[in-house]
């Protein structure tokens, strides 16, 4: 990795890149980074982005497993709704889904009598929960399709062998089917996590304070156009790098037998 950078032409390119970065740092307007108010906001924003990413990937994958199973082997009354759900999620923009959830469905709730006094009202009013639901459903829709393929790709002989050993169906699922399907998905999961990371800034459109929302606020308060956007790009590049490295490390730890 390091050695591949030490070729003369790459050293020249790195030098050009360093000079450009130096110029941006030296001549750009970065004084807002020294403001403790913005520093606290940036930390909070990055934290919220990361929490959203991890939480929605986990919930989404948990939903994707039954969705994939229903599509792969389920009876028609489960397979058809699962397929329709996946098509709708994959066929409409996430931004629109978030608007529909937060402004559309969110605007219907106040019409229900007595709801303002119930325990659910603070949750129903908070954009954060709509963002979690919207992003999780999006993961479920895309990954449900992936899991369908993965469940179907597990060799039949494996399941038949387990059945011949007298394993109950649930044990077969837990010990043979699900682990092998997840194993197949693992190489694509890193890429899907990066895609999900790139989807998180959309939650800023429904007033959730993630790192994108923080940068937008800095831009509108200081009237600086480019520097907050560049910081954002660097932050997302950094998080992407961490995700890719983590998944590469994790994949290396899972035994892989290529037939």
């Amino acid at each position: 990795m390091i050695r591949s950078l030490l070729i003369p032409r790459r050293l020249v390119m790195l030098a050009i890149l360093a000079v450009m970065a130096g110029l941006v740092v030296a001549y750009g307007r970065w004084e807002w980074l020294g403001n403790p108010k913005y520093q606290a906001l940036i930390v909070r924003g990055i934290g919220n982005t990361l929490i959203l990413l991890v939480l929605t990937m986990a919930i989404g994958m948990a939903l994707a497993i039954p969705l994939g199973l229903a599509q792969a082997v389920g009876p028609w009354y489960l397979a058809v709704p699962a397929r329709v759900f996946c098509s709708v999620i994959r066929g409409t923009p996430l931004l629109l889904q978030l608007f529909l959830l937060y402004y559309g469905i969110g605007s219907l709730f106040p019409g229900i009598p007595g709801i303002r006094d119930s325990w659910a009202w603070p949750i129903l009013r908070d954009a954060w929960y709509y963002a979690v639901v919207g992003l999780s459903l999006s993961v479920a829709g895309y990954e449900g399709e992936v899991m369908r393929g993965a469940f179907k790709a597990v060799p039949h002989g494996q399941l038949e062998a387990a059945r011949a050993m007298g394993m109950p169906r649930l044990t077969i699922f837990r010990r043979i089917w699900l682990p092998q399907a997840l194993h197949r998905v693992l190489p694509t999961l890193g890429g899907e996590t990066v895609l999900q990371l790139k989807a998180t800034p959309l939650v800023a459109m429904i007033t959730v304070v993630d790192i994108y929302a923080v940068a937008s606020r800095v831009r509108s308060e200081t009237l600086i156009t480019y520097e907050p956007l560049l910081l954002l790009a660097v932050v997302y590049l950094g998080i992407t790098g961490v995700i890719v490295t983590l998944f590469r490390w994790f994949e290396g730890r899972v035994p892989q037998r290529v037939a």
């Binding site: 032409r9 790459r10 390119m13 098509s87 709708v88 994959r90 066929g91 409409t92 923009p93 996430l94 931004l95 629109l96 889904q97 608007f99 529909l100 402004y103 559309g104 469905i105 969110g106 605007s107 219907l108 990066v194 990371l197 790139k198 989807a199 998180t200 800034p201 959309l202 459109m205 994108y212 156009t225 480019y226 956007l229 560049l230 954002l232 790009a233 997302y236 590049l237 992407t240 790098g241």
Partner: protein, 243 residues
């Protein structure tokens, strides 16, 4: 109750004012226009990028690697903002330097340009993979016949790789149609922005966002259908894939 609800919904979605149906369809038209332009621009960038990545010199390869990596790692929303401001700024500075008036770039043109650059990075990767899986013998045979490079690309490489590239390109087209929604953030009058206006004017949020969802879904279902026909056509005469 439900009858009244239905008729008021139909009234909101009617094509003639005070219904907002025409506004939504106008937004849809802009969305499809921007998506088609961006897809075409992306294809152009993608073909050049793929050839550059395969046959280009070492510096070209490195620069293209930086382009595809950065564009695919940074959220589209942020790329759109950076490119939009950068392109508008650069153009106006050039115009001012030439002693001309500043211009406001039209929404459609800017959207096509910005999304096209994003699409180009993905298209480069899709097309590179497809070109690489064209049997080398076919290309070598054409070269042995003395075909010039451009004719070789036009007659052999591109038609042969089309069948392999189409599923990836279909995916890209769907991404393009959905990414146009992001342009609402910069205030372009495409479908999502039009829906937002209609919803906030009439306060019928649910109706309009659901209607826009149906429109997007119709576009994506129709596209899936068209691309499957195209793929069958591109595969004609080829042996079906075993498996």
């Amino acid at each position: 109750m439900s009858g009244a609800l239905l008729s008021s919904t139909l009234e909101l979605l009617a094509l003639n004012p005070p219904g907002w149906g025409a506004v939504l369809l106008w937004g849809l038209w802009h969305s499809v226009l921007i998506a088609a332009g961006a897809f075409a621009l992306g294809l152009g960038i993608g073909v050049l990028g793929a050839y550059g990545k395969i046959y280009g010199g070492p510096v070209t390869k490195d620069l293209l690697a930086v382009y595809t990596t950065v564009v695919r790692a940074v959220p589209e929303l942020i790329l759109i903002l950076i490119l939009y401001f950068a392109v508008t700024d650069a153009l106006n500075q050039i115009l001012v330097a030439l002693g001309r008036e500043k211009v406001q770039i039209s929404g459609v043109a800017a959207g096509i340009l910005v999304l096209g650059v994003v699409q180009g990075a993905y298209a480069t990767e899709v097309l590179r993979g497809a070109i690489l899986s064209v049997p080398a013998g076919q290309i070598e045979a054409a070269r042995a016949m003395g075909m010039p490079p451009v004719m070789l690309a036009r007659r052999v490489t591109l038609p042969l790789m089309l069948a392999l590239a189409l599923p990836g390109l279909a995916n890209l087209w769907l991404i393009a149609t959905k990414d146009t929604a992001l342009l609402a953030v910069v205030g372009f009058a495409e479908l999502t922005q039009a829906t937002r206006q209609a919803a906030s004017t009439t306060k019928a949020f649910f109706t309009f966002y659901a209607a826009a969802g149906v429109l997007y879904l119709a576009v994506s279902l129709a596209s899936t259908l068209i691309f499957s026909v195209l793929e069958r056509r591109a595969r004609r005469g080829q042996r079906p894939v075993q498996g």
